[in-house]
Amino acid sequence: MRLPFANIPIWPEGASKAAFEMDLLYLVIVGLTVFFCIIVFGLVIYFVAKYYAGSKADRSNPTFHNMPLELAWSLIPLALGLFVFGWAAKLFVEMQAPIQSENALNIYVVGKQWMWQMQHPTGQRENNELHIPVGRSVKLTLISQDVIHSFYVPAFRTKTDVVPGRYRTLWFEPTKVGKYHLFCAEFCGTKHAEMTGWVYVLSPEDYEKWLQDNRWGMGDEGVTVAQAGQALYEQLQCSSCHAPEQRIGPPLTGLYGSTRTLSDGRRVVADYDYLRQAILDPQAVTVSGHEPIMPPYRGQLTEQEVIQLIEFIKTLSAPEAPPVAEAEQSDDSGGNG
């Protein structure tokens, strides 16, 4: 939105499900701000004018204390503040994990100085651009390869810090076809201001077309993330210990999402962060009953490769469905969305 009399933008475009409610909440707080400013400025201007030194105003019996007044101007702002807190906390929780997430599109984002690398589950990769379909929940899994970045799309009214060493998730549901700014919002070094890009929200048909046109994204030809992970798994010869018949490393089948007992007695859920650590720094999370003999892969794998390996391990959770079929399934669901 722009000012009518000048070419000055005053309101950002809103293109996500959360944007409407956030704008509403923002406007309510703007209203409260204006309300209190009017009271305070009004009082100040009125008193200065009326009690200007030398004026004829009645100054008899001034008061210096008034308990009900003190309570009123403490408790009323407090109540309004708590109302804002409650609403904002509710919206925050909703934005963290939407209720309708079964059909979500999972996209992996790696931030590094100074670019964004996106991987679609079906293998398409892109840098500093993100193509997504309108009307479908998107779940980003983000990690940084170096310093802290922040993935920020103003039109979606959302952002999250992208931190090295742990995965973050960001949910949103684009509601409007268009092209929107993507920024890095956390200062990350020399070209921080150039770590920008575009998010393209496409109609489902255009998205399908985009997926087809970019079938052989960047790098590996027509390979899903999980398939790329499988290739890595073979290349790194992980199976020489982790194949069930080897009985050296813990088997990986059914690993993702299961609860494991570590040699130091901790019980952990094998989620993204756990698997990442188990690959990069395995001796810190040795599974109970196994020797701490796996070599650490820290510094030897890129974050994208780690994500590929984890995606491959995830496919091992359902032994009846081979990885390729799984990948095709997610490709199909992409078409349905």
């Binding site: 933008p9 950002p12 956030m22 923002y26 707080i29 409260l32 209190f36 305070v40 400025f41 009082l43 100040v44 008193f47 200065v48 009690y51 200007y52 030194a53 100054r59 008899s60 019996n61 001034p62 008061t63 210096f64 204390h65 008034n66 003190e70 101007w73 702002p77 503040g81 708590l82 804002v84 807190f85 609403w87 904002a88 906390a89 509710k90 925050f92 963290q96 100085q113 170096d146 310093v147 802290i148 922040s150 920020y152 103003p154 959302t158 952002k159 931190v163 090295p164 700014h181 920024f183 919002a185 956390e186 200062f187 990350c188 070094g189 020399t190 201001a193 150039e194 720094d281 820290r298």
Partner: protein, 559 residues
Amino acid sequence: MSAAGVATKQPEAVNYLNVDNSIKSWLLTEDHKRIGILYLVTISLMFLVGGIFAMLIRLELLTPAGDVVMSDTYNKMFTMHGVIMIFFFLIPSIPAVLGNFCLPIMIGARDVAFPRLNLASWYVFTLGATLGVTALVLGGVDTGWTFYTPYSSSFSHTPVIIAVSGAFVAGFASIFTGLNFIVTIHKMRAPGMTWFRLPLFVWGQYATSLIMVLGTPVIAITLLLVAVERGLRIGVFDPALGGDPVLFQHLFWFYSHPAVYIMILPGMGVMSELIATFSRKRIFGYEFVAYSSLAIAVLSFVVWGHHMFVSGQSMYLGMVFSVLTTLVAIPSAVKIFNWAVTMHKGHVKLDSPMLYALSFIGLFTIGGLTGLFLAAMAVDIHLHDTYFVVAHFHYVMVGGAIVAFLGALHYWWPKMTGRMYPEPWAKLSALIVFIGFNLTFFPQFILGYLGMPRRYHSYPDEWQTLNVLSSAGASILASGFILVAVYLLWSLRYGAKAPANPWDATGLEWKTPSPPPPTNFTQRPIITEEAYNYPIVLAKNGEPDEAVKQEEAEKHEHA
């Protein structure tokens, strides 16, 4: 009143300035007033340096492209602007200059409790500032004033260790000052100066000192850990070394949020003095204003996580910080309302310090209320690290703290220097600063909601107009500051001699000559009345009563 007459009739009376003019006497002084002046000189130089960087930043942002300086240079400019303004100007500004100068006099003491520690504080501060300037001379640091890890500890190619050492060392100056004030206020009040007869400026300084003493060690340790990780590669914050980058943010904000109150609480104390003096009325709800300073100091330590809603801290932890942040707003609101109502049935005069005070009310009210947007978790997702945040904290730090500092400087200038500045120019400066400030920072609220991230060297074309407005405002604001510097310096030589009590104010500092004698008072004062004990009208007629008439007549005599 009679003291004023004495001071003007005996211009050669011994005061803290003319008692000894040698350089040595200044460098080895244990007089709190001289130490205040030493601090004023040091921080004014730092403000000049920080201000030049601000102007260069606004120059770069005139155009969307990054065309004035290189990206690295720009990153160093905003970092040095932030580091210098926060650690070497704002934190020491009111406490170390006006607190040092006025606080002992206001409580009727001869000096602070530990005069040598006080001098040591200035030397330590100067060493810290020198280290900061050294980092600058060596090319400048590019981490942002927040020194976020692992960028600062493992990635930046700039002299980070020297810069954090500067902030580390300057922190001790803060601790020394805080410790000195706490002990001074507890142990050295004049007979009859009970806690609830203390001027509210002293309450503000007391609350500030608590934060300085309790919070500063945490930032010291945090910055030391950054230096250790950077210099010795011992993993604390960098995940590549086994550390946790978000831990740094917790430790950093554990100090740096309370530090915001180190900057604003003394300003609030100044406000109470100015509003009472220029309304000729006791502050409304004195106890509420006093206790609200302590409430702010205590609550300030439990809100740091509101800087981290999108950093990945637990959602439930975020809620706790969000609700506590809502609570900390209340004592500030209480102060604002009490100041406003103080003017009710007062005799309001718009001398330049009062113009700065009214400017503070306007700007701090906006600064405080815009904090509500950022405390609201969902809205903060969008606004975090955008220009909205930049605008918000400048409304508090410049519109609040610096405007209060200027108000205080104008208010106590005659006391400190014995000279009056030209009042019309001072009024003009208050107006210029107010207009320039709003033009600089109000457009940034809009830019923030539009989504312009902070610390950006270049930006999309559609945001140029708002940035041009902001840069134009910055030039107006800068000319306001330059104007202040010019006429204050001018007044040192050409200003009229100041009477002991130019504002007709209560308070012990106005009962001693301007400038005060080295020992502050010739006789130890004994306090028998409340603070701000201005005459009041009890009769219910429109006319001022006899006491007021007499007061007015007496004032005209001196004028």
